[in-house]
């Protein structure tokens, strides 16, 4: 069984981060698995499954020149995990509200209470500085019906948070 490490890299965004990091890993004989890479608040963030080659013992050493050159902070965890363990989401939850503390906690708390499993969550602050708007898109898996999930988040409307629960029908063709 393949041993995977979860590699986290964070630093100020600039062109070439992915190319230089993955080139260093490739030259060190590493294999990449699933990854999430996204710009958040002007930083570029990478979370990536890595195995083989110098992993995990000498991985940080191999990455240290490129991390120093690009100003990236590196974190490494050995993880139990593997490829081909996808869960397909069957529910999408979209949230929009005036940005204020507690939106994520309230929405996800209501969903967790009915056993909703978040597979993916992306959130962003839109609007302008005077009137920021919090926008969140959750994809997850739930055995509860759409009606039960709507019921679970129904009380949030009173807090000025619009929550839309919709089924995700995955088309196989």
């Amino acid at each position: 069984m393949t041993e995977w490490s979860m590699l986290t890299l964070v630093g100020e965004d600039r062109p070439g981060i992915v190319a230089k990091v993955t080139d260093a890993l490739y030259k060190a004989g590493c294999t990449l698995g699933e990854a999430s890479m996204i710009r958040l608040g002007g930083n570029f963030t990478i979370m990536m499954m890595v195995s083989g080659g110098v992993c995990p013992r000498d991985l940080e050493e191999v990455l240290s020149p490129v991390a120093a050159a690009l100003g990236l902070r590196v974190h490494l965890d050995s993880v139990d995990g593997g490829l081909h363990r996808h869960l397909t989401p069957n529910v999408q939850v979209r949230v929009v509200g005036a940005d204020r503390a507690g939106i994520v906690a309230k929405v996800t708390g209501a969903l967790a209470a009915v056993g909703f499993n978040i597979l993916e969550l992306e959130s962003d602050v839109a609007g302008d500085r005077r009137q920021p708007v919090y926008i969140m898109n959750i994809q997850g898996y739930s055995n509860a019906t759409i009606e039960a999930l709507e019921q679970a988040v129904a009380g949030l409307g009173a807090d000025g948070i619009a929550v839309d629960v919709a089924p995700v029908e995955t088309l196989i063709g």
Partner: protein, 172 residues
């Protein structure tokens, strides 16, 4: 009837454009039966296209009637299909018999009109929307050597999408 082998990525044959059907004979109809039997085994596919089983002719089957609560035309065999009108677009999640263990979000037209032939060669005109229209667009892509992975968009994309309706133009 027979269950046919399904080509899967990275098989380059899936990238090949298929040719129009010119002979509407018993051999064609027997193949369509096999193609549908292949669709029905394994993961519940709502559609299948001939090139997915290595026959590079413009033949697709779509049947979304197993999905509850949506409008559909039932079991459809589309030979030489051609979409003549697109309207609206929306994001939906797709997977594919030819792309195991991956699903992704794809933008498709919400409503389409199309012309095709049935297995006897008779012309048919159809108008459809939603899930059924999505399935037909997915299958017709196969006939042009395209897979849904060629059209996957970031999940983040739909945070910024607004519904825009255009008539007489393809999805952007």
């Amino acid at each position: 009837m027979a269950i046919l082998d399904v080509l899967t990525l990275p098989d380059p044959r899936l990238r090949q454009a298929s040719q129009p059907v010119t002979r509407f004979d018993e051999e064609l109809r027997a193949f369509i039966d096999d193609l549908d039997e292949t669709r029905r085994v394994g993961p519940a596919a709502v559609g299948i296209a001939a090139p997915q089983v290595g026959r590079f002719q413009r033949i697709a089957i779509v049947d979304v009637s197993a999905k509850k609560g949506i409008a559909s035309h039932g079991f459809l065999v589309l030979v030489n299909p051609e979409i003549t009108h697109w309207e609206g677009f929306e994001i939906g999640r797709e997977g594919c018999l030819s792309v195991p263990d991956f699903t992704g979000n794809v933008i498709r037209a919400t409503r389409i009109r199309l012309g095709a032939r049935d297995p006897l060669g008779e012309p048919v005109e159809l108008e459809m929307e939603g899930f059924e229209a999505r399935a037909v667009q997915h299958e017709i892509d196969h006939l042009d050597g395209l897979l849904f992975v060629d059209r996957v968009v970031s999940r983040r994309t739909d945070l910024f999408r607004r519904k825009v309706y255009q008539t007489g133009r393809g999805p952007v």
